[in-house]
Structures are given as C-alpha cells and as structure tokens.
C-alpha cells in the first residue's frame, strides 16, 4: 500500500504543494484520507446486488462462506467483475455511439462546423460495412455508414462486423467456439447486467466468459467505431510536434482547458479559438492570444490531430486549475472528478459542463448541440476571454515544465512511415522483429493512480522495455505521462533504447515510444496487431505475436474492459494492482492461468514496475521461441 504520494513530476509537485498551502485538497490527500481502504471491496467479496445484503465473505474462512442467497466468493467476485467490465465497455461504447450519431448528423447536413475530413477512410470503412459506393455522393455514403454503425449497437442477433472483417481467423474461431463473439454492443452490456442479478448466472466461469464477450463488444465494437469515425470526421492523425505538462498554461494567454473524452466538443473549441474576431477580442483584453490545452483523453484527440498542447493527464486536472490562469475548464464525459466543483469556489476559473449525460453541481451548464457546434464553442471561448480580467493575481502560479513530444501514430500511418506512398508496408517492422532487432511490441495504456506511482511507473516500464529492444506503443494517460519524461521524442531512442531498436528508430526517424491516441484508440493497437499478422512471418494469429500489454496504473472500469478485450484477443495484460476479485482463488486462477488455454491471452498482476516490464519481456521471449525467430541480434 502506497502511503507516500509525492510524485516524480516537478510540475505536479509544485502545484500540489501550492494547493496544500491554499488548504485545497487534491486527489492525493483524498487518497490518504481513504486509507486503509476497505479490504472486502479490494478482494471483491462484498455484494450489494440485492437487499438481502449487503453481504460479505470472510476471506480468512472463519466467518460467512456465502452471502445470504448462497453466492460464494467465486460467484460474488465474478459478478462484480462482470459489472465493472460492463460499465467500462458501456462508457467507451457510448463514446463510439456519440461519434456515429454525429456522423449521421453531418451526413444529413444538420451540423455546424463539422465535415468529412478523411474521405479516403470514409470510403474504406464504408466498403468494409458493405455500403455500395458506386457514384453516390459522399454524404449519402456517410449516412449509410452511420446508420450501419449505429445498428451495430442495437443489433440483437448475428455478429459484430469488425469481429469478422478484421481479426485473424484463429481469433474468430476461438470466439465462435466459446460463444463469446459479440452479437450487438448494447446487448452484451444489458445481458451483463441481467446475468449479475441475483439468481441468474451462478457459474463463475460462465460469468467470466461473458465478461470477455462484453469487453470484445467494446474493443472490436464501440471503441473501434469511435476511432474510425473520429478519423473520418476530424482526419486520421499523422505525426505532429507538441508540448506536454502544466507548463503549457501561459500566464499571458487566455487559457481554456478542455477535459474529458469526446472530440466532438474539443475539436470545435479549437476551431473557435482560431476565429480572428475572438483572437482580437482576447488581445483587446490584454492577452497575447487564446491558448487551448487538454486534460485526459480529449487532450490526446486534439493533440494527435492538431498538435494542441496537453496540460496534463487525469491526475493533474485539479493542478491545472491551481495555476490560477485557467479561464475556462470545459468538460464533456468520463474521468472528470467531482472534486472540481470545490475549486470553483476558490479560483476565477469557470467550469462548464456540456453534456446532458454529465452534469456537475456547481458547474455552469451549456448544452452542446452539433447543429450549433461552432457557435456554442465560440460562446464558450468568449466566456473565457471575458473571464481573463477576473484572474486573482495572488493565485497565479504558472510552472515552466513542458516537454516536447511527437504524437499521432496510427495503424494506417505505419504503412506509409515504413514504406512511403509507393511501398507502403509493415515489412520493415516485421523484419526487425524476425531478425531480432526489435524483440517485440508492448502496449502501455491506461490511467495514473496515486496507489502506485501516480504515473511514474509508465516511465519506468517503458524505459525498461525499450532498453530491451521492445518497441512501445501508448495511448491515454500513460502516453501523456511518458511524454512528460521525454520518451516520445526521437532523440530518446539514442538515450534509452537498446542497440537493435535504436537502429530501427534511426532508420525510420521515430521515437522508441509511439503515441497512438486516446483510450478508445486502443483499438488501433488491435488493428496494428492485425496488420502485423497480415504482413506475415511473426505469427499467424494475435496470440502468436511477440507482443504484450499493460495498464499498470489502471483506475477506471474502462481499463478493465480494455484489458479483457486484449486478453480475449490472445494477449498478455499486466495490471499493477489486481481488479477486485482476489478473494476468490478460483477466479484469480481462471484469469491468470486457465483463460490462456482458451484465448491464448492471460492476466498478470504485479505491483513492481521493473518486474512487470520483465514479465512482458519474458512473455515476448516465449512467443519468439515458439515462432522460432532468430535470437536477438545484439545479445
């Protein structure tokens, strides 16, 4: 149990200190106040699903072995696990639905400020969905695609389309044989809730199988749709230069922080901030201009497409406000801490919530509506400009910490990155793995958590992996964290990477750690793995690839869903702290051992980041051996 919450990040420490001095609690204090955390909760042995309870099982075997209904530790923890997964899957998938709905509105001409930005991708995905292209106008194609995508959510029977068009045959076969190939996105979530009601599914293995099905509906369904539509509406990212950390908030600018996840809002705010009239207005108010900065994954969305600076990850949301220079923090959905409302009482910052699904007491509410997208965004920007003069000088404390980075790698871009327009290919990556220059690929994703090292573990793990020639891909807050320590620069290869990986980075001109986008963009890791299989020579299915993943500092239920869709797709996933099932030996055994015989993937729970890195390395080594790949070139 971590009780010392000082982080390694200088900017965070400065502003954390300032907040303490101002008697404002931050997540770290609140964490300490919770200690010791509830043991029953951590072990997953508490059940509140019905009014016989709450019930709890005695982990030491002395008290109750079952709940009032008779559910034992296995059933209770598996039910809890499935409910967590369903929530995570629902959250990401709802994000995907928002995007698909916006695509529909755009195709019908019912929006303001939006357009089809990536036609090539629209046509490609439309074809994949069986939309006849012919000579149809673009908006008709977009409409048909949007409708077909929305149908994926409500489908009652059949199979999710991406589960059939994208993964290697072996994964499809495993899912079919184990009846975990999702039918419709919403249906699996609803069924998860139904199964976990008292007296429905009382077999822990059966519950976990549905856990995987629910997660797959996210990874190959909701999240994947989110990524694809975001690319279509706002263009597929390509590498951009940008800056990260709280130093991007500048005293002499009007600062607007966008926070949340869905780029439908943040893209418009960025667009509005470019409006000349508004820029002039800001200047009239004495600012040098308008500065947009992001927090959390909406930051990643506008970072990878527009190079908009990232103020910080999820843990830093309160600290951004603590700089005293944020005129507006505008939020949509997910990972927005209710604690923010306390800050409104102290700072001049106006907090604006925008989504009917996500309201906050104490926030101003401006409902976002795509039909007036740009106008509403301008309205919000104007509020920020007007608020510039309300700053409380005595509370202004900006920091200088900001780090350059490269972001914006995608499954599609890798083809061009490695082969140019004419020889677009994954071959050099597969060759590098085959020949032992690159050991394999690791995905480091997910959140930051004061229970562990408040994000720093991502840096430790990434550094250890690249030192051992593992190419690292990242999304979400993990990527923001590594950016702060400079791992997302091409120069980092020469400082940290092993010789083989270094040669590849030098040949291609890439950082050793690649930023793939927001947390829904974990779908890009799935599709990139499919591209590696398709290129050939390093495994014929996802479970054969020398790859591994970690969401080491996870906090969110979304991370559980992400982890499960990777495990169900055949990959190893490491969590620094286990999800709350440890009270059941059977469930733990199933997740960490038995599931491997079914899907080829499995869970590992390991709190030491260095050990976690080596578990991933050893897993990759094992896959290399099974594939009879060459020994590592420089060992």
């Amino acid at each position: 149990m971590v009780t010392e919450t000082k982080t390694k990040d200088v900017a965070t420490n400065i502003l954390k200190q300032i907040s303490e001095e101002r008697m404002i609690d931050t997540i770290w204090e609140r964490y300490l106040q919770q200690l010791p955390q509830c043991g029953f909760g951590l072990l997953g042995l508490c059940c509140k699903n019905c009014n016989f309870g709450p019930c709890r099982i005695d982990p030491f075997g002395e008290g109750a072995k079952t709940g009032i209904c008779g559910a034992d530790a296995d059933v209770i923890s598996a039910r809890n696990l499935l409910r967590h997964t369903a929530a995570g899957s629902a959250c990401h998938s709802d994000h995907g639905r928002e995007l698909a709905h916006t695509l529909l509105l755009v195709s019908e001409g019912k929006t303001e400020g939006y357009k089809i930005a990536d036609k090539e991708k629209l046509y490609r995905v439309a074809k994949e969905f069986g939309v006849q292209i012919d000579n149809k106008p673009e908006n008709v194609i977009a409409k048909e695609l949007a409708i077909k995508m929305l149908e994926e959510f409500g489908k009652q029977e059949g199979e999710l389309l991406f589960c059939r068009t994208r993964p290697p045959e072996k994964q499809q076969k495993i899912w079919t044989e184990n009846k975990i190939l999702p039918r419709g996105i919403d249906r699996e979530v609803v069924e998860a809730m139904a199964r976990t009601h008292m007296g429905v599914d009382n077999d822990y293995k059966n519950l976990i199988l549905h856990t995987m099905k629910t997660a797959l509906a996210d990874g190959w369904g909701g999240s994947m749709i989110a990524t694809e539509v975001t690319d279509i509406l706002f263009r597929t990212p390509r590498p951009v230069r940008a800056k990260a950390n709280l130093g991007v908030l500048k005293e002499d600018y009007v600062n607007i922080v966008v926070h949340g996840h869905v780029p439908i809002l943040s893209e418009m705010i960025v667009e509005a901030s470019l409006d000349k009239e508004l820029v002039n207005l800001a200047k009239q108010k004495g600012a040098k201009g308008i500065n947009i900065a992001g927090i959390c994954c909406t930051a990643n969305e506008i970072l990878v497409r527009r190079g908009i600076p990232v103020a910080g990850n999820m843990l830093q949301q309160e600290l951004a406000v603590a700089t005293g220079v944020v005129e507006v923090m505008v939020v949509d959905l997910q990972c927005i801490m209710p604690a923010l409302k306390e800050l409104a009482k102290c700072y001049h910052t106006k907090f604006i919530s925008t989504h009917p699904k996500g309201k906050f007491e104490g926030f101003e509410y401006i409902e976002f509506d795509e039909s007036r997208g740009l106008s509403i965004a301008k309205e919000i920007v104007k509020i920020a400009i007007e608020n510039f003069s309300n700053r409380k000088k005595e509370l202004v404390k900006t920091v200088s910490e900001e780090q350059s980075l490269i972001a914006g790698f995608t499954t599609e871009y890798v083809y061009e990155m490695l082969g140019g327009k004419y020889r677009a290919t994954y071959r050099p990556l597969n060759d590098a793995i085959r020949d032992g220059r690159i050991r394999g690929v690791a995905g480091l994703v997910g959140c930051n958590n004061p229970k562990l090292l408040s994000g720093y573990s991502h840096f430790i793990i990434a550094k250890e992996l690249i030192k051992h020639d593992v190419l690292v891909v990242e999304t979400g807050c993990a990527a923001i964290e590594c950016a702060k320590y400079g791992l997302l620069t091409p120069e980092a290869a020469f400082q940290y990477a092993g010789k083989g990986l270094q040669e590849v980075c030098k040949a291609v001109g890439i950082p050793p750690v690649l930023h793939l986008g927001s947390c829904v963009d974990n779908s890009r890791i799935l599709t990139a793995c499919c591209a590696m299989v398709a290129e050939g020579g390093i495994g014929n299915s996802l479970d054969e690839l020398p790859v591994a993943g970690a969401a080491f500092e996870w906090y969110s239920e979304k991370a559980i869903a992400i982890g499960w869709y990777f495990v169900a797709s055949g990959l190893l996933v490491v969590f620094g702290t286990p999800f709350h099932v440890s009270g059941s030996k059977n469930v733990i055994k199933f997740c960490t051992e038995e599931v491997e015989k079914i899907t080829g993937g499995k869970w590992v729970f390991e709190p030491d980041p260095i050990k976690a890195a080596h578990i991933m390395i050893e897993h990759i080594n094992k896959k290399r051996q099974l594939l009879k790949l060459k020994p590592m070139m420089y060992e």
């Binding site: 140019g420 004419y422 050099p428 590098a432 091409p490 590849v504 040949a507 291609v508 001109g509």
Partner: protein, 743 residues
C-alpha cells in the same frame, strides 16, 4: 534511413525536381503556345516514358503531358528533417526518391526530345548508350530469365583510379552481373564517371559485354530504373500504373544493387532513395551512414564504407544474389559477361577454323571404362610451339576438339545438347572468341589472352570443368582430346561428319506423333507467371533456345526443374494440336488461367508467350495471311507496329488470337500453323529471316508444293505498307489470297 541520409536525399530531391521545373519553364518561355505540343519520347520504346508509365499508367507523349507529372513530383517532396524533434523520415525519403526519379526521367526525355536545348546531343553519343530501347530490353530479358545475367549493378561515380575501376568491373563481369554506369565523382580534381575511366583504358563497352554507360549526369541513372520498370511490365505482365506491384516485382525478381563510388552528393542520395523503392540497396566506398534494418530492400539498405576489393561481394551479399563463380584454372577471367566480347583480327594471336584452317568440335558418349576422368590430351603442337614473327600475326592452326563423356543417365540424344555448350563455354573466357558449331566453327585467341598464358590445352580445362559443373546429372566422367595436326584433324573430321549426319537423320524422324511425352518449360514463369511453353519434337520453345531434346535432357538433369514431362494423353484434334494431357498440364501450371491450347493454331486457343519469343507472327486481315517479324528488326511492319510495340501486345502469358510468339525454326516445321494453312499463309517476313532460314525454308516450300513461295513472300525491301503489300501479293499470285478467309 538515417537522418543524415534522409536530409541529404530530400535536399537532393528538391534540387533535381527544381532542375526539371526550370528546364520546362525555359522551354515554355522559348516555345510559348507551341510548347505543350512538343513531342516528348525516348527512342524505340512502346512504353512512353517508361518509369512514369509504370508508376502512374500515364502515357506521356507531349510536353503538355509532362506538366501534371512535374506537379505530382513536387507534391511528393517532403520537408527536410529538422535538427531536433524530427518527424519520421523513412517514408518521406522514399517519397522524395520517387519524386527524384520522376524528375530525372523528365530531364532525360527532354534531352532526347529537344537536344538543341542540351548542347546539341542526345544522351546517345560517343560510347554513351543513354536510353535502352525495347529491342535490347527483350534480348537482355532472356539473359535475366536463363540466369546468364544474375542481376545488375548500377555504378554511380568513379573509382579513385583506373586500376581500381578495372578491378571492380572485372569482378562484376566474372560474376556475369550487368553493369550500368552513370554520374560522376571527383577524381584528381575532375568530375568523371567510371565509364570514362574504362574508355581511357580502351575497354570495350556495350550491351554485348554487359557494360552499359548511361551518362555523366546523375539523371541518366533513371535508365537503369526505367529498364527495371519495363522488365516488370514486359516480362512480368504487370499493368502500367500498378506501381507497387512493379516495385515489388523488382524487389523479388530483378536482383540489382547500386555501387556508389566516390563522394555521394545530395542528388546521388536522392536517386539512391528512388532505387531503394525498387528494393535495390546501396554499397558505398565512402563513409556515409548505414541503414541496416531491412524491409524495403530484402536485406540491408545502405552499407558503407566498403573497401574496393570487397565492394562487389558486399553488393552481392546484401542483395541476396546467389552466384556460383566458376573457378576454372585458366590464366584469364571467365564468365558469361565475356561471351559477347569481340576479338578483332588485329587483336588476334592465333585462330582456328573459319575459312583459315580445318576445324571441328564433337561430343561423344562413351562407356565409363573408356574414360579417364579429367584427362586432357593435346595431340599435336601447342600454339606457342609455332614461331611466328609478330608482324605475321594472326596465324591459323587446325583444330579438332573431341569431348568424350560418360554417365549413368547420359543418352546418345544428349550429345548434341552438350556439344552446343562448347560455343558458350569457350566464349566465356576473356580474350577467346568462338562462333558456329560442328565443323563450321571459328575460334580466336587474342594476343592479350596469349600473353597472359592462355594456350590451346586450356580449351580442355574449360570444357572439363564446365561440363562437370553444369551437367553433374548427365556427366559423371569426361575427357577431352584436342588435335592440332592437319592430317589427323582432316581424318577425324570425316568421321565426325558421319556422326553429324546420323544425328540429323534421327532428329528428322522425331515427330509429335512418334513420341508420347512432350516437355514443358516454365523457366519464364518468374517473369510471366501464367505462361507455359509446351515443347514438342516439331515445335521448339518460342525463345528458340529449347527443343524437345533439350527439355528431355533438362528433365534428366533436374527432375524437379522447370522442364517437366507432359504425357500427351488422348489426342482430341491432331490438326489443331490438342491433347487432353496437355490441356490438363497447362491448366494446372498456368495458375488456372489457360484452359486449352491448340498447339499448332494461331487463331484459336493459341499458345501463350512469355516475352522472350524470337519472332512474332501477326495477322494481316486484309491480306488473308500472316506476317513474321524477328527480334532485332527495328523497322516498321505492314501491321503498323514495330517489333517492340507488337511484343508488348503478345507477351505476358495471355492468349491473343491472331498473334503468336514463336522460335525461328518453327517456321520450317511440318506443324507450322496447320489449321490455318501453314506456310502458305505467310505473306510478309523480314529479309533477315528469309536469309537466315534460307535453304531450309526453300526446301520446306518445295515440300508443300510451292517452290517459288519464298519469292512471293514480301519483305521490308518490297513494302511495309499494307495496301502496297496487297497489290504485290495479287501481282505475284500469292497462295494466301486463294485460301479460305481467316476471319
């Protein structure tokens, strides 16, 4: 890439594209309204500007067509990588390389089209070859197919001195690697090309000897790459515009690499980046960054610095070429690159045969006991035992070469096949010239070879080594007897002639009906994946290089090779030449593309062509007959197309009724176009064909009861105009006009 290379290559790309842009601007200013209609073309090609055609499918014919290509090349130009926090540059650099090649082809095409704007000369002048026309492309293509040419090396720049230049070139020639030469690098303060170093030494260059000087301008390097692009379209049958397929075809099948000698400037880096798109790696003698990870090329992309004596082997290694270097114990270099080398009279020390002395060569099968393996006997004087005044050189000596072979799988039928190899083997030695065969042969040893220590006995050394090396399945034991006394030579020649006659008689009796097995040849499937040659006793392979006996022998030599027996099976139609077994074989071996074959027909289910055919037969509907044009004929034909253009329509493994690629000797076969009426249908053929087939063709005409047919067949000296041709045919009463209508 490395950042250093990427930076230089991208800068170089900007420079070369800008050169093309300026050249065009100048022309636009000078010619104003007329500029866009200026014809832009390379000589004798059906592929327009071949690299551009291959990559985009666009047919550039006028300057106006060039403008969008230039704009496109500009759009491919990326930014130069920044000093810090650079964006990925590998893909960008490859794009920059492509932009460079587009611009280079534009510049070189302008030089041909508007020579007055480029100093009054086209790139083809003095010893510079410049653009390779389609005819040569096809001739050399065969060498790529049959392995005589394992790949090519494009040398840019010059060696530090002439000696080094010669050494590198000889190493390449010994390995039979085709050499392209272009661009310059500074040597003793002067910008020169390696080709100029060779010229200075009086070294023969040209396609015959695999040494092809393209030009001193870096832009002339495009000729190597537009050669490679055409190879993919012509032999690979890949459609123009299928850029990635064409580039990958080169990566997989055209084994080429770049040798950068001397300073590598930005333009050279840019061009090399273009070559890497083809999968052609670079070896350099200077210390530039290396690009070791693989993927765009099969192995390393750039390796440097490599010492001059290792540079050829390094190139071979990183291109993954598998080359057997024949190490034969003779005092001169040896390799097929020297096959085309000429030894002129004034260069000759001694010669044999021709019209100067009696000479013959013969291969005979013997029993194992009769042969002492590896024994070489010279019966008579060696050439250095005859004292000749230097001013009396060259002199002639009689020569009889009898090669005796034995082997468990050897058959009498294979003697002639082995005997034909003598020509190649002796020619492979540098300074040795060989022509003809049997008792019609003519051999020269150059003064240079003689001074290096080459003697008559070395003919034996070559033959023993090569037969054992190339035919291990047939030849277990071999001995060679070489006679140089006139009386003995004359006496043995009489016996040899008896053997030649016996062979001819036996061959004449070999008919398609007399055998139950034909042989396939899929040697060209590496280039034309759907093509299958069916070789029958009366119809040889369309390249002219393989007859039925060759196929049979090749199968004995390598039962898993490209020549497989085809059981004829039930005969469906003896006139058209259709058999169940043949159809089945062709279907299965053409990737299920070809369902049936009429082996003797041109109009219905004709046989396919790879691209290597010696001759093309084409329909002339207005004359109710066909014309025949041979490779090497560069003029126009009555069908309105030259050989190259026609070849483009015939090759690639497709069935194209009315058009057929054939070997020359098929014209005198009894099975020549039987369903259409045979020879009587031929209304036009090139003069060269008439002359080379001469007596045999005449005899065949007599056999079919048309003794004066040969005179009735027109050639280019009579006309190449279809209307005039018809008038001529009517005048001479050509039998084709009385045959049933073809269409």
């Amino acid at each position: 890439m490395s950042k250093m290379i990427a930076t230089k290559a991208i800068k170089g790309a900007h420079k070369i594209v800008s050169r093309a842009e300026k050249a065009i601007e100048k022309i636009l200013t000078e010619y104003k309204d007329k500029a866009k209609d200026i014809n832009i073309a390379f000589p004798d090609t059906a592929y327009y500007l071949p690299f551009i055609y291959a990559m985009t499918g666009l047919k550039v014919q006028k300057l106006g067509d060039v403008l969008p290509i230039l704009e496109y090349a500009k759009s491919l130009l990326p930014e130069v990588p920044s000093d810090e926090l650079w964006l990925p540059y590998l893909g960008d650099t490859l794009n920059a390389g492509m932009a460079t090649l587009f611009a280079e082809e534009i510049i070189e095409a302008l030089k041909y089209s508007l020579p007055e704007s480029f100093g009054g000369k086209t790139p083809t002048h003095d010893f510079w070859i410049g653009f390779t026309n389609d005819m040569i492309l096809r001739e050399q293509g065969i060498k790529l197919v049959d392995g005589r040419m394992p790949g090519f090396a494009a040398i840019v720049g010059a060696a530090p001195d002439t000696e080094t230049a010669k050494k590198i070139i000889t190493q390449l020639q010994e390995r039979n690697i085709l050499v392209f030469m272009s661009a310059t690098s500074p040597v003793n303060g002067k910008q020169i090309c390696i080709a100029e170093q060779l010229a200075e030494e009086g070294i023969q260059m040209g396609w015959d000897v695999f040494l092809v000087p393209h030009g001193t301008d870096i832009t002339s390097t495009i000729y190597a790459l537009n050669f490679a692009s055409r190879a993919a379209m012509s032999f690979g049958g890949i459609q123009p515009g299928k850029a990635k397929d064409i580039l990958l075809y080169n990566k997989e099948r055209v084994h080429a690499f770049v040798i950068a000698l001397g300073e590598v400037d930005e333009e050279k880096f840019a061009t090399a980046a273009g070559a890497i798109n083809f999968g052609f790696p670079v070896v350099a003698d200077t210390d530039i960054d290396q690009i070791l990870p693989t993927g765009i090329c099969t192995y390393e992309h750039v390796v440097s610095p490599v010492e001059h004596d290792k540079i050829v082997n390094k190139g071979i290694e990183i291109r993954g070429l598998k080359i057997k270097v024949s190490k034969i114990d003779i005092p001169v270099p040896f390799g097929s690159a020297f096959e085309g080398e000429r030894v002129r009279k004034e260069q000759t020390y001694v010669e044999f045969g021709g019209k100067y002395s009696p000479a013959f060569e013969l291969v005979q099968m013997k029993s194992m006991e009769e042969i002492e393996n590896g024994k070489i006997e010279l019966i008579g004087p060696e050439c250095d035992e005859i004292k000749v005044e230097p001013e009396k050189l060259p002199f002639a000596m009689p020569l009889g070469i009898i090669v005796e072979v034995a082997g468990r799988k050897m058959q009498k039928d294979f003697e002639s096949i082995l005997e034909r190899q003598i020509h190649h083997y002796l020619s492979f030695a540098k300074g040795i010239f060989h022509m003809g065969q049997r008792n019609q042969n003519w051999i020269r040893i150059s003064k240079e070879a003689f001074n290096s220590g080459f003697r008559i006995k070395h003919f034996g050394t070559i033959l023993v080594s090569k037969f054992l090396e190339d035919f291990p399945a047939l030849v277990d034991k071999i001995q060679v007897k070489i006679y140089t006394e006139e009386e003995k030579v004359n006496q043995l020649m009489k016996e040899a002639m008896k053997i030649y006659d016996e062979r001819d008689t036996r061959l004449a009796g070999l008919t398609d009906e007399a055998v139950d097995t034909f042989y396939s040849c899929t040697l060209c499937q590496s280039y034309a994946p759907n093509h299958v040659c069916v070789i029958t006793p009366e119809k040889l392979g369309l390249c002219g290089a393989y007859n039925w006996l060759d196929g049979k022998a090749a199968y004995e030599i390598n039962p898993k090779g490209m020549n497989q027996p085809i059981p004829k099976g039930k005969c469906i139609d003896p006139i058209k030449g259709e058999w169940e077994g043949v159809n089945k074989f062709v279907y299965e071996n053409s990737n299920r593309a070809i369902e049936r074959f009429y082996n003797y027909s041109i109009m219905e289910f004709p046989t396919t062509s790879c691209g290597c055919f010696e001759c093309i037969i084409a329909i002339l509907p207005e004359c109710n007959g066909f014309m025949v044009v041979n490779r090497g004929y560069s003029g126009m034909t009555p069908c309105g197309m030259g050989f190259s253009t026609l070849a483009g329509t015939v090759g690639g493994g497709n069935q194209t009724p009315g058009f057929l690629g054939v070997g020359r000797l098929y014209l005198i076969s009894k099975k020549f176009l039987v369903p259409e009426g045979g020879l009587k249908r031929i209304v036009w053929m090139t003069k060269e064909l008439k002359e080379t087939l001469g007596e045999k063709l005449k005899k065949r005409c007599e056999e079919i009861g048309e003794p004066d047919l040969l005179d009735k067949i027109a050639d280019e000296t009579i006309t190449t105009d279809p209307q005039e041709l018809l008038e001529y045919l009517t005048k001479v009463n050509h039998p084709a006009l009385t045959l049933p209508p073809l269409m």
